[in-house]
Amino acid sequence: MPTPLPARDPSIRRQIVGLLIVAGLLMVALVVAIATRHDMFSKKAKMHFVTENATGLAPGTTVRLSGYHIGSVSTMTLQPDLKVRVTLSIDTEPFASLRGDASAVLVREQLRAPAIEIRPGKGADALAGDDPLIAYSRGNTLTEIADDLRERIAPILADVKEITGTVRSKQGEIAAVIENAASATRQLADTTQQLRALAGEVRGRVGTLGAQAQGMLAEANQAVARTGNLVGQAQKSLDTVNATLPGLMHKSSEMLDQLNGVARDAKTISASTAASVPGLLRSVTPLVDDTRDMVSGIKQAWPVRSLLPPPPSPLLPIDSLDAMILRDASIR
Protein backbone atom coordinates (compact mmCIF):
# COMPACT_ATOMS: atom_id res chain seq x y z
CA MET A 1 0.00 0.00 0.00
CA PRO A 2 1.69 3.26 -1.12
CA THR A 3 2.00 6.20 1.26
CA PRO A 4 -0.52 8.95 0.36
CA LEU A 5 1.05 12.08 -1.05
CA PRO A 6 1.06 15.05 1.36
CA ALA A 7 -0.35 17.28 -1.31
CA ARG A 8 -3.33 15.11 -1.56
CA ASP A 9 -4.14 15.73 2.10
CA PRO A 10 -6.64 18.64 2.25
CA SER A 11 -5.58 19.58 5.75
CA ILE A 12 -2.03 20.18 4.56
CA ARG A 13 -3.28 22.36 1.74
CA ARG A 14 -5.40 24.34 4.19
CA GLN A 15 -2.42 24.61 6.49
CA ILE A 16 -0.25 25.98 3.69
CA VAL A 17 -2.87 28.44 2.54
CA GLY A 18 -3.56 29.56 6.11
CA LEU A 19 0.10 30.18 6.87
CA LEU A 20 0.54 32.06 3.61
CA ILE A 21 -2.47 34.22 4.36
CA VAL A 22 -1.26 34.94 7.89
CA ALA A 23 2.20 35.83 6.58
CA GLY A 24 0.66 38.16 4.02
CA LEU A 25 -1.55 39.79 6.65
CA LEU A 26 1.43 40.29 8.94
CA MET A 27 3.36 42.04 6.21
CA VAL A 28 0.41 44.19 5.19
CA ALA A 29 -0.21 45.14 8.80
CA LEU A 30 3.43 46.06 9.24
CA VAL A 31 3.45 48.17 6.10
CA VAL A 32 0.22 49.92 7.06
CA ALA A 33 1.50 50.60 10.59
CA ILE A 34 4.73 52.09 9.28
CA ALA A 35 2.91 54.14 6.67
CA THR A 36 0.41 55.37 9.23
CA ARG A 37 3.20 56.35 11.59
CA HIS A 38 4.79 58.32 8.77
CA ASP A 39 1.45 60.03 8.12
CA MET A 40 1.17 58.71 4.64
CA PHE A 41 -2.60 58.52 5.04
CA SER A 42 -3.10 61.89 6.73
CA LYS A 43 -3.13 65.42 5.44
CA LYS A 44 0.26 67.05 5.59
CA ALA A 45 1.44 70.61 5.32
CA LYS A 46 4.47 71.44 3.24
CA MET A 47 7.17 74.04 3.57
CA HIS A 48 10.59 74.30 2.05
CA PHE A 49 14.00 75.86 2.33
CA VAL A 50 16.86 76.34 -0.11
CA THR A 51 20.43 75.54 0.81
CA GLU A 52 23.78 75.50 -0.97
CA ASN A 53 24.83 72.32 0.81
CA ALA A 54 22.39 69.52 1.56
CA THR A 55 24.96 67.19 3.10
CA GLY A 56 23.34 65.08 5.81
CA LEU A 57 19.86 65.53 4.38
CA ALA A 58 17.91 62.85 2.56
CA PRO A 59 14.26 62.11 1.81
CA GLY A 60 12.85 60.66 5.01
CA THR A 61 15.07 62.68 7.35
CA THR A 62 13.14 63.31 10.54
CA VAL A 63 11.70 66.77 11.17
CA ARG A 64 11.21 67.69 14.81
CA LEU A 65 9.62 70.52 16.73
CA SER A 66 10.88 70.89 20.30
CA GLY A 67 12.42 67.43 19.90
CA TYR A 68 9.10 65.85 18.89
CA HIS A 69 8.67 64.13 15.55
CA ILE A 70 6.29 66.11 13.37
CA GLY A 71 7.25 65.04 9.87
CA SER A 72 10.05 64.29 7.46
CA VAL A 73 11.86 65.49 4.39
CA SER A 74 9.65 64.64 1.43
CA THR A 75 11.66 65.74 -1.59
CA MET A 76 15.01 67.24 -2.51
CA THR A 77 15.55 68.97 -5.81
CA LEU A 78 18.71 70.39 -7.36
CA GLN A 79 17.86 73.77 -8.87
CA PRO A 80 19.46 75.33 -11.94
CA ASP A 81 21.49 77.66 -9.69
CA LEU A 82 23.02 74.51 -8.10
CA LYS A 83 21.17 75.11 -4.85
CA VAL A 84 19.06 72.38 -3.32
CA ARG A 85 15.40 72.89 -2.60
CA VAL A 86 14.34 70.73 0.34
CA THR A 87 10.64 70.22 0.95
CA LEU A 88 9.44 69.27 4.41
CA SER A 89 6.19 67.45 5.02
CA ILE A 90 4.90 68.04 8.54
CA ASP A 91 1.69 67.67 10.48
CA THR A 92 -0.90 70.37 9.92
CA GLU A 93 -1.40 71.04 13.64
CA PRO A 94 2.18 72.14 14.45
CA PHE A 95 2.37 73.91 11.10
CA ALA A 96 -0.39 76.25 12.24
CA SER A 97 1.69 77.34 15.22
CA LEU A 98 4.74 78.32 13.14
CA ARG A 99 5.45 82.04 12.75
CA GLY A 100 6.73 83.96 9.77
CA ASP A 101 10.34 83.89 11.00
CA ALA A 102 10.37 80.13 11.57
CA SER A 103 13.62 78.39 10.67
CA ALA A 104 15.08 74.92 10.29
CA VAL A 105 18.37 73.71 11.80
CA LEU A 106 20.14 70.50 10.88
CA VAL A 107 21.07 68.70 14.09
CA ARG A 108 23.64 65.93 14.09
CA GLU A 109 24.60 64.35 17.37
CA GLN A 110 27.36 61.75 17.26
CA LEU A 111 25.93 58.37 16.25
CA ARG A 112 22.39 59.62 15.99
CA ALA A 113 20.81 60.05 12.61
CA PRO A 114 20.69 63.66 11.41
CA ALA A 115 17.40 65.43 11.99
CA ILE A 116 15.91 68.81 11.22
CA GLU A 117 14.81 70.82 14.22
CA ILE A 118 12.16 73.44 13.48
CA ARG A 119 12.32 76.70 15.43
CA PRO A 120 8.80 78.13 15.41
CA GLY A 121 9.86 81.79 15.48
CA LYS A 122 8.43 84.73 17.41
CA GLY A 123 7.11 86.95 14.68
CA ALA A 124 3.67 88.47 14.72
CA ASP A 125 2.56 86.90 11.48
CA ALA A 126 1.87 83.20 11.14
CA LEU A 127 3.65 81.11 8.55
CA ALA A 128 1.06 81.07 5.84
CA GLY A 129 0.69 80.03 2.26
CA ASP A 130 1.22 76.82 0.38
CA ASP A 131 4.78 75.47 0.66
CA PRO A 132 6.25 78.59 2.29
CA LEU A 133 9.98 79.32 2.44
CA ILE A 134 11.79 79.20 5.78
CA ALA A 135 15.39 79.87 6.77
CA TYR A 136 17.88 77.04 7.16
CA SER A 137 21.16 76.61 9.01
CA ARG A 138 23.45 73.75 9.89
CA GLY A 139 24.89 72.78 13.24
CA ASN A 140 28.58 71.98 13.14
CA THR A 141 29.56 68.33 13.28
CA LEU A 142 32.73 67.03 14.89
CA THR A 143 34.25 66.70 11.43
CA GLU A 144 33.46 70.30 10.59
CA ILE A 145 34.84 71.45 13.90
CA ALA A 146 37.97 69.41 13.24
CA ASP A 147 38.26 70.91 9.75
CA ASP A 148 37.89 74.39 11.15
CA LEU A 149 40.56 73.71 13.74
CA ARG A 150 42.81 72.28 11.06
CA GLU A 151 42.42 75.38 8.93
CA ARG A 152 43.30 77.54 11.89
CA ILE A 153 46.20 75.46 13.13
CA ALA A 154 47.78 74.58 9.79
CA PRO A 155 49.35 78.05 9.21
CA ILE A 156 50.67 78.04 12.76
CA LEU A 157 52.22 74.65 12.27
CA ALA A 158 53.79 75.86 9.00
CA ASP A 159 55.29 78.82 10.81
CA VAL A 160 56.59 76.58 13.55
CA LYS A 161 58.07 74.28 10.95
CA GLU A 162 59.76 77.20 9.24
CA ILE A 163 61.12 78.50 12.51
CA THR A 164 62.35 75.05 13.40
CA GLY A 165 64.12 74.78 10.05
CA THR A 166 65.73 78.16 10.52
CA VAL A 167 66.84 77.20 13.98
CA ARG A 168 68.26 73.94 12.67
CA SER A 169 70.19 75.72 9.92
CA LYS A 170 71.72 78.18 12.38
CA GLN A 171 72.43 75.72 15.07
CA GLY A 172 76.12 76.81 15.42
CA GLU A 173 75.22 80.42 15.93
CA ILE A 174 72.53 79.48 18.30
CA ALA A 175 74.98 77.35 20.23
CA ALA A 176 77.27 80.36 20.57
CA VAL A 177 74.33 82.50 21.55
CA ILE A 178 73.30 79.91 24.06
CA GLU A 179 76.88 79.77 25.39
CA ASN A 180 76.91 83.54 25.70
CA ALA A 181 73.54 83.45 27.30
CA ALA A 182 74.78 80.81 29.72
CA SER A 183 77.82 82.92 30.55
CA ALA A 184 75.66 85.97 30.94
CA THR A 185 73.36 83.95 33.09
CA ARG A 186 76.22 82.85 35.31
CA GLN A 187 77.42 86.44 35.59
CA LEU A 188 73.94 87.50 36.24
CA ALA A 189 73.75 84.89 38.95
CA ASP A 190 76.93 86.25 40.52
CA THR A 191 75.60 89.77 40.22
CA THR A 192 72.41 88.65 41.76
CA GLN A 193 74.28 87.06 44.61
CA GLN A 194 76.25 90.25 45.16
CA LEU A 195 73.12 92.30 44.97
CA ARG A 196 71.56 89.96 47.44
CA ALA A 197 74.52 90.39 49.80
CA LEU A 198 74.43 94.15 49.30
CA ALA A 199 70.76 94.17 49.94
CA GLY A 200 71.35 92.16 53.09
CA GLU A 201 73.97 94.59 54.27
CA VAL A 202 71.82 97.58 53.40
CA ARG A 203 68.99 95.91 55.19
CA GLY A 204 71.18 95.49 58.27
CA ARG A 205 72.36 99.06 58.16
CA VAL A 206 68.93 100.35 57.57
CA GLY A 207 67.88 98.27 60.52
CA THR A 208 70.62 99.74 62.66
CA LEU A 209 69.77 103.24 61.48
CA GLY A 210 66.21 102.53 62.15
CA ALA A 211 67.03 101.35 65.65
CA GLN A 212 69.21 104.40 66.20
CA ALA A 213 66.60 106.69 64.78
CA GLN A 214 64.10 104.98 66.96
CA GLY A 215 66.37 105.56 69.99
CA MET A 216 66.91 109.12 68.98
CA LEU A 217 63.26 109.61 68.56
CA ALA A 218 62.72 108.09 71.95
CA GLU A 219 65.34 110.41 73.41
CA ALA A 220 63.85 113.33 71.54
CA ASN A 221 60.51 112.35 72.91
CA GLN A 222 62.01 112.27 76.37
CA ALA A 223 63.72 115.65 75.76
CA VAL A 224 60.51 117.04 74.50
CA ALA A 225 58.86 115.63 77.58
CA ARG A 226 61.51 117.20 79.73
CA THR A 227 61.23 120.45 77.82
CA GLY A 228 57.57 120.23 78.38
CA ASN A 229 58.20 119.83 82.07
CA LEU A 230 60.63 122.72 82.00
CA VAL A 231 58.19 124.81 80.11
CA GLY A 232 55.65 123.84 82.70
CA GLN A 233 58.02 124.79 85.46
CA ALA A 234 58.91 128.02 83.63
CA GLN A 235 55.27 128.61 83.24
CA LYS A 236 54.86 128.09 86.94
CA SER A 237 57.85 130.31 87.61
CA LEU A 238 56.51 132.96 85.34
CA ASP A 239 53.22 132.62 87.05
CA THR A 240 54.99 133.02 90.40
CA VAL A 241 57.00 135.92 89.03
CA ASN A 242 53.87 137.41 87.62
CA ALA A 243 52.25 136.93 90.97
CA THR A 244 55.15 138.36 92.98
CA LEU A 245 56.44 140.96 90.51
CA PRO A 246 53.95 143.67 91.36
CA GLY A 247 54.89 143.39 95.02
CA LEU A 248 58.58 143.36 94.19
CA MET A 249 58.16 146.34 91.95
CA HIS A 250 56.38 148.07 94.68
CA LYS A 251 59.08 147.13 97.16
CA SER A 252 61.80 148.17 94.71
CA SER A 253 60.16 151.46 94.31
CA GLU A 254 60.10 151.91 98.05
CA MET A 255 63.70 150.74 98.27
CA LEU A 256 64.73 153.17 95.62
CA ASP A 257 63.07 155.88 97.59
CA GLN A 258 64.92 154.75 100.68
CA LEU A 259 68.17 154.54 98.71
CA ASN A 260 67.57 158.01 97.49
CA GLY A 261 67.23 159.05 101.13
CA VAL A 262 70.35 157.16 102.03
CA ALA A 263 72.22 158.74 99.17
CA ARG A 264 71.07 162.13 100.28
CA ASP A 265 72.19 161.29 103.81
CA ALA A 266 75.52 159.93 102.52
CA LYS A 267 75.95 163.05 100.48
CA THR A 268 75.30 165.08 103.49
CA ILE A 269 77.71 162.95 105.55
CA SER A 270 80.39 163.03 102.90
CA ALA A 271 80.03 166.72 102.61
CA SER A 272 80.55 167.07 106.30
CA THR A 273 83.32 164.48 106.28
CA ALA A 274 85.07 166.20 103.46
CA ALA A 275 85.49 169.15 105.67
CA SER A 276 86.98 167.19 108.64
CA VAL A 277 88.90 164.28 106.98
CA PRO A 278 91.87 166.20 105.59
CA GLY A 279 92.92 167.43 109.03
CA LEU A 280 92.35 164.02 110.41
CA LEU A 281 94.49 162.42 107.76
CA ARG A 282 97.25 164.83 108.32
CA SER A 283 97.38 163.93 112.05
CA VAL A 284 97.30 160.15 111.33
CA THR A 285 100.64 159.95 109.55
CA PRO A 286 102.86 160.99 112.49
CA LEU A 287 100.80 158.66 114.57
CA VAL A 288 101.48 155.76 112.32
CA ASP A 289 105.18 156.49 112.19
CA ASP A 290 105.37 156.54 115.89
CA THR A 291 103.52 153.32 116.20
CA ARG A 292 105.91 151.65 113.73
CA ASP A 293 108.86 152.79 115.64
CA MET A 294 107.43 151.48 118.81
CA VAL A 295 106.74 148.10 117.36
CA SER A 296 110.22 147.83 115.90
CA GLY A 297 111.75 148.67 119.15
CA ILE A 298 109.70 146.08 120.89
CA LYS A 299 110.67 143.43 118.37
CA GLN A 300 114.31 144.10 118.72
CA ALA A 301 114.14 144.15 122.43
CA TRP A 302 115.24 141.04 124.30
CA PRO A 303 113.06 138.72 125.28
CA VAL A 304 110.52 139.69 122.75
CA ARG A 305 112.98 139.22 120.00
CA SER A 306 113.48 135.56 121.01
CA LEU A 307 109.77 134.92 121.18
CA LEU A 308 109.09 136.05 117.70
CA PRO A 309 109.78 133.84 114.66
CA PRO A 310 112.30 135.17 112.23
CA PRO A 311 110.67 137.03 109.46
CA PRO A 312 110.20 135.07 106.22
CA SER A 313 112.50 135.72 103.39
CA PRO A 314 110.75 137.74 100.79
CA LEU A 315 109.79 135.90 97.63
CA LEU A 316 110.46 137.27 94.30
CA PRO A 317 107.39 137.76 92.14
CA ILE A 318 106.98 135.14 89.46
CA ASP A 319 106.10 137.63 86.85
CA SER A 320 106.96 141.19 86.90
CA LEU A 321 104.02 141.97 84.73
CA ASP A 322 101.58 140.58 87.25
CA ALA A 323 100.17 143.71 88.56
CA MET A 324 98.10 141.97 91.16
CA ILE A 325 101.22 140.38 92.67
CA LEU A 326 103.03 143.70 92.54
CA ARG A 327 100.10 145.27 94.28
CA ASP A 328 100.04 142.55 96.97
CA ALA A 329 101.73 144.01 99.88
CA SER A 330 102.29 140.69 101.57
CA ILE A 331 104.61 139.51 98.78
CA ARG A 332 106.87 142.46 99.31
Partner: protein, 247 residues
Protein backbone atom coordinates in the same frame (compact mmCIF):
# COMPACT_ATOMS: atom_id res chain seq x y z
CA UNK B 1 38.34 29.50 -11.50
CA UNK B 2 36.66 32.24 -13.49
CA UNK B 3 35.55 29.82 -16.17
CA UNK B 4 34.11 27.44 -13.59
CA UNK B 5 32.31 30.27 -11.86
CA UNK B 6 30.96 31.54 -15.16
CA UNK B 7 29.82 28.07 -16.14
CA UNK B 8 28.06 27.59 -12.84
CA UNK B 9 26.45 31.02 -13.04
CA UNK B 10 25.17 30.30 -16.50
CA UNK B 11 23.92 26.90 -15.38
CA UNK B 12 22.06 28.41 -12.40
CA UNK B 13 20.52 31.06 -14.65
CA UNK B 14 19.55 28.42 -17.17
CA UNK B 15 17.86 26.40 -14.47
CA UNK B 16 15.90 29.44 -13.31
CA UNK B 17 14.94 30.29 -16.87
CA UNK B 18 13.98 26.67 -17.40
CA UNK B 19 11.62 26.73 -14.46
CA UNK B 20 10.16 30.12 -15.44
CA UNK B 21 9.50 29.04 -19.01
CA UNK B 22 7.79 25.88 -17.82
CA UNK B 23 5.36 27.81 -15.59
CA UNK B 24 2.47 26.48 -17.66
CA UNK B 25 3.03 23.12 -16.01
CA UNK B 26 1.39 24.53 -12.91
CA UNK B 27 -1.90 23.76 -14.55
CA UNK B 28 -1.17 20.08 -14.03
CA UNK B 29 -2.38 18.59 -10.80
CA UNK B 30 0.83 16.61 -10.41
CA UNK B 31 2.98 19.72 -10.57
CA UNK B 32 0.69 21.66 -8.20
CA UNK B 33 0.80 18.69 -5.87
CA UNK B 34 4.58 18.70 -6.02
CA UNK B 35 4.58 22.44 -5.37
CA UNK B 36 2.34 21.99 -2.35
CA UNK B 37 4.58 19.24 -1.01
CA UNK B 38 7.66 21.43 -1.44
CA UNK B 39 6.03 24.35 0.38
CA UNK B 40 4.95 21.98 3.11
CA UNK B 41 8.42 20.51 3.53
CA UNK B 42 10.37 23.75 3.20
CA UNK B 43 7.97 26.31 4.64
CA UNK B 44 5.48 24.76 7.01
CA UNK B 45 7.79 22.22 8.63
CA UNK B 46 10.61 24.79 8.99
CA UNK B 47 8.37 27.40 10.61
CA UNK B 48 9.04 26.36 14.24
CA UNK B 49 12.82 26.48 13.72
CA UNK B 50 12.67 29.81 11.95
CA UNK B 51 10.41 31.22 14.67
CA UNK B 52 12.80 30.23 17.44
CA UNK B 53 15.81 31.63 15.57
CA UNK B 54 13.90 34.86 14.85
CA UNK B 55 12.99 35.34 18.50
CA UNK B 56 16.58 34.78 19.56
CA UNK B 57 17.84 36.99 16.77
CA UNK B 58 15.64 39.96 17.67
CA UNK B 59 16.48 39.75 21.36
CA UNK B 60 20.21 39.34 20.76
CA UNK B 61 20.41 42.19 18.27
CA UNK B 62 18.71 44.60 20.67
CA UNK B 63 20.67 43.57 23.75
CA UNK B 64 23.98 43.63 21.90
CA UNK B 65 23.18 46.97 20.31
CA UNK B 66 22.25 48.38 23.71
CA UNK B 67 25.45 47.00 25.19
CA UNK B 68 27.56 48.49 22.41
CA UNK B 69 25.82 51.80 21.82
CA UNK B 70 24.26 52.54 25.17
CA UNK B 71 20.61 53.19 25.93
CA UNK B 72 19.88 55.03 22.72
CA UNK B 73 16.52 53.92 21.44
CA UNK B 74 16.84 55.44 18.06
CA UNK B 75 20.16 53.83 17.19
CA UNK B 76 19.18 50.44 18.58
CA UNK B 77 15.90 50.34 16.76
CA UNK B 78 17.56 51.54 13.60
CA UNK B 79 19.89 48.57 13.93
CA UNK B 80 16.92 46.26 14.41
CA UNK B 81 15.01 47.78 11.52
CA UNK B 82 17.86 47.82 9.04
CA UNK B 83 19.64 44.72 10.24
CA UNK B 84 16.66 42.61 11.17
CA UNK B 85 14.24 43.41 8.42
CA UNK B 86 16.12 44.27 5.29
CA UNK B 87 19.48 42.56 5.63
CA UNK B 88 19.92 39.85 8.21
CA UNK B 89 16.34 38.58 8.27
CA UNK B 90 16.28 37.28 4.70
CA UNK B 91 19.90 36.21 4.98
CA UNK B 92 19.40 34.13 8.12
CA UNK B 93 16.23 32.64 6.67
CA UNK B 94 18.09 31.70 3.49
CA UNK B 95 20.84 30.01 5.50
CA UNK B 96 18.25 27.96 7.36
CA UNK B 97 16.64 26.93 4.06
CA UNK B 98 20.01 25.96 2.60
CA UNK B 99 20.90 23.85 5.60
CA UNK B 100 17.52 22.25 5.86
CA UNK B 101 15.97 22.09 2.38
CA UNK B 102 18.67 22.85 -0.18
CA UNK B 103 20.75 19.80 0.66
CA UNK B 104 17.61 17.68 0.88
CA UNK B 105 16.45 18.78 -2.57
CA UNK B 106 19.89 18.09 -4.05
CA UNK B 107 20.07 14.61 -2.56
CA UNK B 108 16.48 13.78 -3.46
CA UNK B 109 16.68 14.92 -7.07
CA UNK B 110 20.08 13.29 -7.53
CA UNK B 111 18.75 9.98 -6.30
CA UNK B 112 15.68 10.38 -8.46
CA UNK B 113 17.93 10.90 -11.44
CA UNK B 114 20.01 7.87 -10.57
CA UNK B 115 16.98 5.75 -9.87
CA UNK B 116 14.85 7.06 -12.70
CA UNK B 117 12.79 4.21 -13.96
CA UNK B 118 12.43 2.75 -10.50
CA UNK B 119 8.98 2.77 -9.10
CA UNK B 120 8.55 5.31 -6.35
CA UNK B 121 5.43 5.99 -4.41
CA UNK B 122 6.15 9.66 -4.00
CA UNK B 123 7.41 10.68 -7.40
CA UNK B 124 5.95 7.99 -9.64
CA UNK B 125 3.73 10.48 -11.41
CA UNK B 126 6.64 12.60 -12.51
CA UNK B 127 7.93 11.69 -15.92
CA UNK B 128 9.86 14.77 -16.97
CA UNK B 129 12.57 16.76 -15.35
CA UNK B 130 10.61 19.96 -15.89
CA UNK B 131 8.07 18.68 -13.44
CA UNK B 132 10.88 18.15 -10.97
CA UNK B 133 12.53 21.59 -11.23
CA UNK B 134 9.55 23.96 -11.39
CA UNK B 135 7.76 22.89 -8.19
CA UNK B 136 11.03 22.84 -6.23
CA UNK B 137 12.22 26.26 -7.42
CA UNK B 138 8.84 27.88 -6.95
CA UNK B 139 8.11 26.01 -3.74
CA UNK B 140 11.36 27.02 -2.08
CA UNK B 141 10.87 30.61 -3.29
CA UNK B 142 7.36 30.87 -1.86
CA UNK B 143 8.43 29.13 1.34
CA UNK B 144 11.40 31.50 1.75
CA UNK B 145 9.21 34.57 1.26
CA UNK B 146 6.73 33.24 3.81
CA UNK B 147 9.47 32.38 6.28
CA UNK B 148 11.01 35.85 5.89
CA UNK B 149 7.64 37.40 6.74
CA UNK B 150 7.36 35.29 9.88
CA UNK B 151 11.02 35.86 10.71
CA UNK B 152 10.53 39.62 10.55
CA UNK B 153 7.42 39.52 12.68
CA UNK B 154 8.95 37.37 15.39
CA UNK B 155 12.27 39.20 15.33
CA UNK B 156 10.58 42.61 15.68
CA UNK B 157 8.36 41.28 18.46
CA UNK B 158 11.34 39.89 20.36
CA UNK B 159 13.32 43.07 19.79
CA UNK B 160 10.51 45.26 21.12
CA UNK B 161 10.10 43.07 24.18
CA UNK B 162 13.83 42.97 24.82
CA UNK B 163 14.23 46.74 24.49
CA UNK B 164 11.19 47.26 26.71
CA UNK B 165 12.64 45.06 29.43
CA UNK B 166 16.19 46.37 29.05
CA UNK B 167 15.30 50.06 28.94
CA UNK B 168 12.38 49.85 31.34
CA UNK B 169 10.03 51.58 28.91
CA UNK B 170 6.61 50.56 27.63
CA UNK B 171 5.91 48.36 24.59
CA UNK B 172 3.84 51.18 23.09
CA UNK B 173 6.76 53.58 23.29
CA UNK B 174 9.16 51.07 21.79
CA UNK B 175 6.70 50.29 18.99
CA UNK B 176 6.38 54.02 18.36
CA UNK B 177 10.15 54.34 18.08
CA UNK B 178 10.34 51.35 15.81
CA UNK B 179 7.63 52.57 13.47
CA UNK B 180 9.28 55.99 13.36
CA UNK B 181 12.60 54.52 12.32
CA UNK B 182 11.17 52.07 9.80
CA UNK B 183 10.41 52.70 6.15
CA UNK B 184 7.42 50.97 4.66
CA UNK B 185 9.09 49.71 1.49
CA UNK B 186 11.67 47.79 3.51
CA UNK B 187 9.01 45.19 4.31
CA UNK B 188 8.06 44.11 0.77
CA UNK B 189 11.69 44.47 -0.26
CA UNK B 190 12.79 41.95 2.34
CA UNK B 191 10.02 39.55 1.31
CA UNK B 192 11.12 39.94 -2.29
CA UNK B 193 14.69 39.21 -1.26
CA UNK B 194 13.51 36.05 0.46
CA UNK B 195 11.65 35.00 -2.67
CA UNK B 196 14.75 35.54 -4.86
CA UNK B 197 16.99 33.75 -2.37
CA UNK B 198 14.58 30.79 -2.29
CA UNK B 199 14.32 30.58 -6.04
CA UNK B 200 18.08 30.66 -6.34
CA UNK B 201 18.54 27.96 -3.70
CA UNK B 202 16.01 25.72 -5.44
CA UNK B 203 17.52 26.25 -8.85
CA UNK B 204 21.08 25.66 -7.67
CA UNK B 205 20.15 22.54 -5.77
CA UNK B 206 18.32 21.16 -8.81
CA UNK B 207 21.19 22.10 -11.11
CA UNK B 208 23.82 20.18 -9.13
CA UNK B 209 21.46 17.24 -8.66
CA UNK B 210 20.53 17.03 -12.34
CA UNK B 211 24.15 17.09 -13.44
CA UNK B 212 25.59 14.16 -11.49
CA UNK B 213 27.31 11.24 -13.09
CA UNK B 214 25.59 7.88 -13.03
CA UNK B 215 27.27 6.89 -9.85
CA UNK B 216 25.90 6.78 -6.33
CA UNK B 217 29.17 8.27 -5.00
CA UNK B 218 28.40 11.47 -6.94
CA UNK B 219 25.36 12.20 -4.76
CA UNK B 220 27.32 13.56 -1.75
CA UNK B 221 29.42 15.68 -4.09
CA UNK B 222 26.26 17.09 -5.64
CA UNK B 223 24.86 17.87 -2.17
CA UNK B 224 28.06 19.64 -1.13
CA UNK B 225 28.20 21.58 -4.41
CA UNK B 226 24.55 22.59 -4.02
CA UNK B 227 25.18 23.79 -0.48
CA UNK B 228 28.26 25.81 -1.40
CA UNK B 229 26.67 27.18 -4.54
CA UNK B 230 23.55 28.23 -2.65
CA UNK B 231 25.60 29.97 0.03
CA UNK B 232 27.65 31.80 -2.58
CA UNK B 233 24.54 32.87 -4.45
CA UNK B 234 22.79 34.16 -1.35
CA UNK B 235 25.80 36.17 -0.22
CA UNK B 236 26.44 37.54 -3.70
CA UNK B 237 22.79 38.48 -4.18
CA UNK B 238 22.64 40.16 -0.79
CA UNK B 239 25.81 42.09 -1.59
CA UNK B 240 24.30 43.13 -4.89
CA UNK B 241 21.20 44.47 -3.17
CA UNK B 242 23.30 46.34 -0.63
CA UNK B 243 25.41 47.90 -3.37
CA UNK B 244 22.26 48.77 -5.29
CA UNK B 245 20.87 50.71 -2.32
CA UNK B 246 24.19 52.34 -1.48
CA UNK B 247 24.48 53.56 -5.06
Amino acid sequence: MISVTSRLALGYAAMLAHAFTRRGLLRQDAVRGALARQIHFTGVQALPYVSVVALLFGAVVVTQALALLGPDNEVVLKAVVWGGIRELGPLVTALLIIVRSGVAIAAEVALMRLRSGMSDDLWREIDHEEEVVLPRVLGVAVSAAMLVAYFQSFAILAALLASTVTLGSTPEAELEHFLTGAVWWQVPLSVLKGFVFGAGIGAISCYHAMHIRDDISAVPKAVVAACIGSLSFVIAADLFVVLLFIA
